[in-house]
Assembly symmetry: C2
Amino acid sequence: MLHTSEALQQLIEEFSQLPGIGRKSAQRLALHLLKQPREDVVRMARTLVNMKDRIRYCSVCWNITEEDPCAVCASPKRDRSMICVVEEPNDVIAVEKTNDFTGLYHVLGGALSPLDGVGPEDLKVRELLGRSANDVAEVILALNPNVEGEATTIYLTKLLKPLGVKVTRIARGLPVGGDLEFADEATLSRALEGRVVL
Amino acid sequence: MLHTSEALQQLIEEFSQLPGIGRKSAQRLALHLLKQPREDVVRMARTLVNMKDRIRYCSVCWNITEEDPCAVCASPKRDRSMICVVEEPNDVIAVEKTNDFTGLYHVLGGALSPLDGVGPEDLKVRELLGRSANDVAEVILALNPNVEGEATTIYLTKLLKPLGVKVTRIARGLPVGGDLEFADEATLSRALEGRVVL
């Protein structure tokens, strides 16, 4: 392009590869950074590489960590008899924010999705089975409430039950602050199905 | 935070400083990059610093460029008697995409905004007046159709007219593909005001 710079185009290209960032947003981000002081841009570049170099996966729960085993797995305060199974590291952050769970985690690294070519061997399923056999009383499946999450929940339940471990999954229902009138049929039907005696 | 990494938090912090990127998007971007191969992340970091090091401002039109003067200002094919004044470098890209303008540009670097502390001395106004005095037949003001853009248009018109140069501004009206029924009053009123004899 005659009216712009190749170095800028490269950066726009890099940014538009990121999830949820289109061509226009990438352009806005690149031009924003162009206006920032050089040291800020250098710091961002360093933070990027630093993140990549320092972060590993916990060899117990497969969450991201800088120390192996991770702080949760290493903590003596956590209840070792409960494992909460999630898809991704950000799901651990979400559950931790509730302050309601004191057990350990297991990060699968995704959910079963034959269309995307994700099978059981791409997830940390074998590792979960290995952990669940040892002194674990309950495995809580906290996967996303979509087709892939449901399929993975069913699959894992079939593998875990024979180990004699209690398998539960988090409730589906109306979100707090939600409106019954605007709830979709699937959510409302799950909410009815999961009704609780008062 | 117990359940995540400091290096990751730093990157999320950096990303959430960017315009249009909230905390949740920043988290998603960081976790996406964590999954990418190390060389991809290093390349992105390099592209960032490279962009910052190679890009300068054209000393004629103040657009971003790698060579000074920029390709537009240096091109013998461009009509030197017309200057299109825009706020930011991305506006130059937008105008160039129309393939309808063959003159030169002048990038102000923003618009007058007393509330944000942006005065004429923060914009390339003096530079525009200097250029407009020399053999320029027409200055086209192509600023954003908002309060700041309008104020800047009025301000620049007052300064440019005494130099004997023709000052025009791009039309306001209904966007192509738009719907009269859904046009806001301000746009429709400008469209009526700017009606053209057929």
